[in-house]
Symmetry: C2
Subunit: 205 residues, 2 copies
């Protein structure tokens, strides 16, 4: 009764949207648990508490589910972009905080495993690849402006290639996080290693 007129979603539409999200979350969980190719649509349906057929009422194909899962990652990435947004503290401090947060994020197995799963799918599925690259580029762009700011204030090496360096830092963090998963190194050590390496590479000298 309340909001059926004009805008607001009806009870039914709300329920539908909730179902969709349930399925998406179930898919995410299964992809992390068993990998994309090892996960069947039946697994997703079961985990979501829904029939196989109904999955196809909400998504046109298994592939599209993966695409939407990949889009979920972008939302996570926006958090890190906000962390890198223009602000007062010196660049090196912002940088350290970012490295710390990003490593911590990727050191959580489910986040890292999803990233690797997407990395691997991105090679052969163009739309996943594009999403993946776009995400990375956005993050790299934010990081680049932090570095540029650091160069301007004279805090960092003047001859720094901000854009290239930003990408290298991302790769450093991601690689280090992967190592922490397979070799289960403590997260704090990874953070310190990476931070130390990065600040050594960026300092004036």
């Amino acid at each position: 009764m309340s909001d059926s007129r004009s805008e607001g979603p009806t009870r039914r539409e709300a329920a539908t949207a909730r179902r969709r999200e349930q399925i998406l979350e179930a898919a995410l969980a299964r992809f992390v648990e068993n990998g994309y190719h090892q996960t069947g649509v039946r697994d997703i349906a079961e985990r979501a508490g829904v029939s196989v057929g109904n999955v196809y009422n909400h998504f046109p194909s298994k592939h599209h589910i993966l695409v939407e899962v990949a889009e979920l990652e972008r939302i996570e990435f926006d958090r890190f972009r906000r962390l890198l947004a223009p602000s007062d503290p010196p660049a090196s401090e912002t940088l350290h905080r970012f490295v710390s947060e990003y490593v911590t994020f990727l050191a959580t197995p489910e986040n890292l495993i999803l990233a690797i799963e997407l990395t691997s799918e991105a090679i052969r599925q163009p739309d996943i690849g594009e999403l993946f690259v776009a995400n990375r580029e956005g993050l790299a762009a934010s990081l680049t402006s932090v570095l540029e700011r650091g160069v301007e204030t004279g805090e960092l090496r003047a001859d720094l290639d901000a854009s290239g360096t930003a990408r290298l830092i991302l790769e450093l963090v991601e690689g280090a996080a992967y190592r922490s998963l397979l070799g289960d190194n403590p997260v704090q050590r990874i953070i310190d290693d990476v931070s130390g390496f990065v600040s050594a590479a960026l300092r004036k000298g």
Copy 2:
């Protein structure tokens, strides 16, 4: 007639070994082309010019084929370990040569794709994971001694954590190479970026 006595492999054994290698090479090619899970045993057999059944005369399972493919990678890695073996030139020069060669190797799509495929399988298949870690550790160890040598001769920062730094360098190279695949950046630029970043991080100051 020649060597049937005592040791040497008979004609038959030689042919068998050759077939085995054919199948292995076919599998490698298919895994790179289409990915491990998207490749069927029939695809491997077809590419090798052999029947499905015969594949199972040479390998107990598809999984074991992957394991042997992963072992092939170690042979490649040995090449880089030799490059890092104790020698005369200054550490920074050895380092630069290594970075250059390793990036070039990984910038070849088939090498990188195989590495990613294995990375992704290593998460859920323990034996692949162990092989993978062992390979990386070996390379990291060789790189570590180069760095240690550089510290001893006073060429590199004295407070360097050689072991941790070695691993970071490897991750940097691998990450950068992956970026070159998805964004097709020129190899030489990647080499220069990485080399510059690394030498900045390691130099005294």
